[in-house]
Symmetry: C2
């Protein structure tokens, strides 16, 4: 296989740079062949053990689309309440374009995944990681083709699963709004709306151990970590969707050590 040319390499970086999570759409339908290319791009994604766990439901029925919208709207309100002091700010954001976008897809995890052990014995959530890679491929392909896409995760997955008559063991992971747009946001919409700020790359990288390298926010935060590394198997990760091991996002990391000033955790981000 020939090396990529300078121009091809630049195109790859360009599409990543200009991809946006869109919420404003024109309603023009997508050409069927174009949609096929986007689905094919998704299917070129890597998957753990080549399990290819991604499935897509194309929502054509208008009333079904409206029911999905209602489900998202209900969760939007619940999320706003959960956000507390940022409730009003959140409610002013446009967080989806379900009713107006040209094409609506739901991306999901297939059932039967427990049979796939390769790369998942201790990391069962790798199936979701594979689906996310597929969605990112689709997102980039769409952007290159001049099509906007938005990933909506404001829904109760079991309710959506039942609405779409999906089998037990499957799980919807994204409502994907696709369609032509008047313009792509010049920067991430949540950044433009001052919901959150982008952090620097340097602040995300450590060398050898978490506490070395990385920015003050991260490096500093970890300093306290010295002792959290030990003993802390216990993070309560409240809602472990996978594997039920209870790892994941424990509340434990507050660790009583005061603020982590990190990046999006600096008080402007929710």
């Amino acid at each position: 296989m020939a090396d990529f040319t300078r121009e091809e390499i630049d195109a790859v970086y360009r599409v990543m740079t200009e991809r946006r999570d869109m919420r404003h759409f024109l309603s023009d339908p997508l050409d069927a062949a174009l949609l096929d290319r986007l689905l094919a791009a998704a299917h070129l994604a890597p998957s753990v053990g080549l399990m290819q766990p991604w499935r897509f439901i194309r929502v054509r029925d208008r009333s079904l689309r409206e029911r999905i919208h209602a489900l998202v709207e209900a969760e939007r309100v619940q999320t706003a309440h959960a956000l507390g002091e940022r409730e009003g700010e959140f409610m002013r954001l446009k967080v989806e374009g379900i009713l107006e976008c040209g094409e609506l897809l739901v991306a999901a995890l297939a059932p039967g995944r427990h049979k796939h052990v390769f790369g998942r014995r201790t990391m069962p959530e790798m199936d979701l990681a594979s689906v996310a890679c597929a969605i990112q491929n689709m997102w980039l392909a769409a952007r290159a083709e001049g099509v906007g896409m938005g990933w909506v995760s404001l829904f109760e997955p079991e309710t959506l699963r039942e609405l779409l008559r999906m089998p037990a063991g499957s799980r919807p992971v994204a409502v994907l709004c696709l369609g032509y747009v008047r313009e792509f946001y010049p920067r991430p919409m949540l950044e433009m709306a001052q919901w959150a700020r982008r952090c620097s790359v340097a602040s995300l990288v450590h060398t050898d151990y978490w506490s070395e390298g990385g920015s003050v926010e991260d490096g500093g935060r970890m300093e306290d970590g010295g002792r959290m590394d030990h003993g802390g198997r216990m993070e309560h990760g409240g809602r472990m969707e996978h594997g039920g091991k209870g790892e994941h996002g424990g509340k434990g990391e507050h660790g009583g050590k005061g603020e982590h000033g990190g990046s999006v955790e600096d008080g402007t981000a929710g």
Copy 2:
């Protein structure tokens, strides 16, 4: 922003088509500027609520790399045992290139994620989805630059977390082998090794409801419902597509529909 040219669009599809999960590497180091570009590409990924949950640990110390390798090797053996009848076949696969690759990174979820509610109240795992998108960006950028990458998830995450002195609440999600390669595999290595087969795009797509559209394999297949990964409603029952409540998964779906020649679930895949 100008439209993408035909050549740019082709480059985007080309990089997705030629990206591979690599396990064979040359040991030449990567240029620091190149590595920076790959990390910057990762950081261009979308994230739920713009939370940017990805962190990267660059492993420079040789003995640390060897300890990570030992940890992966231990899990490789455990996975082989768990695979049962495919144990021997699995053990003959090359599943990582940790010791020989030019650059080793660990990608991780940052701690403190419970504070991010936007898009995660009912779908907390969206943080992992964001990290996976970042890794996919890095993968594609690496491929364009002529650099191979492999995602290894054969490890006990808590053990790796402690080894890297990561704080409680953080979670490693990938050991990433990066480096130059003699050649990129023409097809996915697990396909070439006949571990699994690629399924058709058509078999992955449904229209409006799961049971409509999609291939026989999907519509008509299912697993032995007992161990539903999510939700655990746990039912069996033949025709999961209908019934919205307790249908699903049983062995029933084999029922009468004949073989699902499904992709990786056709008896050749684990």
